[in-house]
């Protein structure tokens, strides 16, 4: 079984090489003369107006948590899809109820306007 993951390992290694290699070559071969002005943060050439540590709006959190819920739902679907042909109609209705309960939540968030960004 593990042999089938060897291409993925190779892919990860090549990915790291392609990602890190140019940075490393640039760091080693490029000129490196930093000073205070070069290291200072800037906003499109202006002096920085305010600190970059702004508080994010809580709406991003709402979008992320709604995404997690449906992401977990997908994780339940994978083993179900594999065994559906073996278990037949019982497994079908188990998943129908599972999805039905979550559709209630989906309708709730749609009607509440949680999916609207304004």
């Amino acid at each position: 079984m593990l042999n089938s993951y060897l291409p993925i390992l190779m892919f990860i290694l090549v990915g790291i090489l392609v990602g890190v290699g140019p940075l490393l070559i640039g760091y080693l071969l490029g000129p490196h003369r930093p000073d205070d002005d070069k290291n200072a943060p800037y906003e499109c050439g202006f002096e920085a107006f305010e600190t970059a540590r702004l508080k994010f709006d809580v709406r991003f959190y709402l979008v992320a948590i709604l995404f997690i819920v449906f992401d977990l739902e997908i994780a339940f679907l994978f083993p179900w899809a594999i065994v559906l042909s073996d278990l037949g109609i019982v497994a079908f209705w188990v998943m129908a109820i599972f999805l039905g309960i979550l559709v209630v939540g989906f309708i709730y968030e749609w009607k509440k306007g949680a999916l609207e960004w304004e």
Binding site: V58, Y61, I68, D71, F78, P79, M95, L102
Partner: protein
């Protein structure tokens, strides 16, 4: 077997190193990114244990979704390092106490006499023909039907709770609903008024001929 063992040590070292970086980094965003690395290498360790479904779900759910949430939470809080570090000695005794209690509890539960190959002998190797994900599905959707449905109810509670806690309508924001725009009819915007033509022999001032509220004056 030798290559697998080598891979295990490589991934285990990266996991331990990145976990150490998580608790020692001062910048919380860096700590979260190291936690992502720890999760990815843990997934690789699980795949080495032939628990491929768990490994892929770890990447899918934790790296893909939960860590995004962690990053949002870190960025949502106003993390000022100077304030956080100011009371370090003040909180040190309480923090040390809690750490010692937790470490003792963990040691009692999974101490050296309760752990290891004697207490938990390695499971018998199954044949390569057994598909991990299929076995999981077979037990999940036959024996554990009720817990699966409870899991869906818990997810429903999470949806409702997140919306109740964080959704705020902003009445000050003015925006046009696309649905209303699409459903608008000609009669909502323009009113045609039928009237007899008027005598145009006398001079009409120019401003009186313009359309005002759709009505010709």
């Amino acid at each position: 077997m030798g290559f697998e063992k080598f891979l295990f040590y490589v991934f285990a070292f990266i996991t331990l190193w990145s976990s150490g970086m998580v608790v020692t980094r001062r910048n919380p965003v860096h700590a979260v990114l190291f936690l992502v690395l720890a999760f990815v290498t843990s997934a690789a360790l699980w795949i080495l244990l032939e628990a491929e479904f768990l490994g892929i779900v770890l990447v899918l759910v934790y790296v893909g979704a939960v860590m995004v949430l962690f990053l949002f939470v870190v960025m949502m809080l106003d993390v000022d390092m100077a304030i956080l570090r100011a009371n370090f000695t003040h909180y040190l005794p309480l923090g040390t106490f809690i750490t010692v209690v937790m470490a003792t509890e963990i040691f009692i539960v999974v101490g050296s006499e309760n752990f290891g190959l004697v207490a938990f002998p390695a499971p018998e190797a199954v044949s390569m023909a057994v598909d991990n994900t299929r076995e999981l599905g077979l037990s999940l959707y036959t024996i554990y039907i009720y817990p699966v449905e409870i899991a869906s109810v818990i997810l429903l509670v999470a949806i409702v709770a997140a919306i109740r806690l964080t959704l705020r309508q902003r009445p000050e924001n003015k925006y046009v609903s696309p649905s209303n725009q699409v459903h608008v009819k000609r009669f909502d915007r323009v009113r045609l008024v039928k009237m007899a033509s008027e005598n145009s022999n006398f001079e009409t001032p120019a401003k009186d001929t313009r359309l005002d509220d759709g009505v010709t004056k």
